[in-house]
């Protein structure tokens, strides 16, 4: 029982850390190119995208953990070269599973979900957490917590940046700053706030 509680505690701590103090966007810049497009594009529902990204992250995490533990052992000299391909395959397996579920459930917004799914899967915010958990030799509970937290952290970043859009589109913002430049400055200021919370530079 105590082992279960201990692992649950680890899971929660890593999920919270990945969501806030090691936020995928603000501290590591994962998926920031997609984020700047997402907040400006009204055709794609941000929350649907984030929900799919979090789901893919959670599905990928156990696969990447076992691939890293058993197929890419430290004895293999080529493990660092093959790792991105192996993790991309994990992401594509998760993609196929989600694709099948969406197709079989016959949801009303099925078409929209299937259009967004590749964008949410082939994303640095999916590959990045897998590479971090593998590089830092996280155990299973840590890996799962970090994956869930990274997905939710990405959603957290999207919500904050989307909220800021209303102010950033104001006429008081000079024309040359509108769009990408003001978004980057805003994300930078938020990253500074996260830095003041952690008080250290996140290792890359």
């Amino acid at each position: 029982m105590s082992l279960v509680m201990q692992n649950l505690g680890t899971f929660m701590v890593y999920a919270l850390a990945a969501m806030f103090v090691q936020n995928a966007v603000f501290t590591r810049g994962f998926g920031v190119s997609r984020l700047t497009k997402l907040v400006a594009d009204s055709a794609v529902d941000s929350m649907t995208f984030c929900a799919l990204l979090s789901l893919i992250n959670v599905l990928c995490a156990p696969m990447s953990y076992f691939v890293n533990q058993f197929l890419l052992q430290p004895a293999f000299w080529y493990r660092n070269y093959v790792r991105p391909l192996a993790f991309t395959v994990c992401a594509l397996i998760a993609f196929a599973a989600v694709f099948l579920v969406i197709a079989l459930l016959n949801l009303p917004n099925k078409k929209d979900l299937l259009a967004v799914l590749p964008l949410a899967t082939l994303n640095c915010a999916v590959l990045g957490p897998m590479l971090i958990t593998a590089n830092q030799n996280y155990n299973f509970a840590q890996t799962m917590g970090f994956a869930l937290g990274s997905g939710l952290g990405y959603a957290f970043a999207v919500i904050i940046v989307t909220e800021g859009q209303r102010k950033m589109n104001s006429r008081s913002v000079p024309a040359v700053f509108r769009g990408l430049p003001i978004n980057l400055i805003y994300i930078g200021i938020l990253a500074l706030a996260i830095y003041s919370l952690t008080g250290h530079r996140v290792a890359i």
Partner: protein, 217 residues
Amino acid sequence: MRDDRIRYFAKNMDRLSRRDRVFLNNPVIMQGLGLAPVVIPATTLGNAFILAVGVALLLTPTRMIATFIGQRTGSFLARAVTYALTAGVVYIGVGYIIDYLFGTGALAVGIYLPLLVLEPLIIKRYESPKRERLITSFKKGVITTIGFCLVLFLMAGLRELLALGTLGGIEILRVSLLPMASMPAGGFILLGLVASLWRGLVNTFKKNISLGVKNLQ
């Protein structure tokens, strides 16, 4: 500017604005691609060089191979899978070459080198249904690499100078003007400022061309 140059730019401005990947439609500044490598690990010119070699070896071959295979697979999903897997396979060779060239020095860019595999700069082409010829994919791959590397080196040089007072390891300033420049927050803010300046220059250039055409008439 000479009259014939003004006429040329005025006549082809729309086409140039779409196709030029260095100044008018830079992948980083105008399209917002490849932001993570520019903002996080590009803190010195040395790091930028490693990333530039990685992008140069990965972008064009991935685009060419995926274009070649993609001519046989038409759908959006098939294109997405083709580009992602191609980038992963090409990275095996790229990773080996980077290790051979830089050894442990490549650790300075950390996971941002393997992360290039799913970076929109490398694989975004899958989103476009328009087919392209192999020679076009080669040309666009090379010009996109040049445009990306230009901003990468500009930002890395700026961040190194402001944070450390050096350029390529050579001391230029005795003081550290802005230590925050080496942090992600500083990277985002500096890139935002550079992007606004760059976009301002592009707008001025376009205005001057249209003004020049009016004066010629």
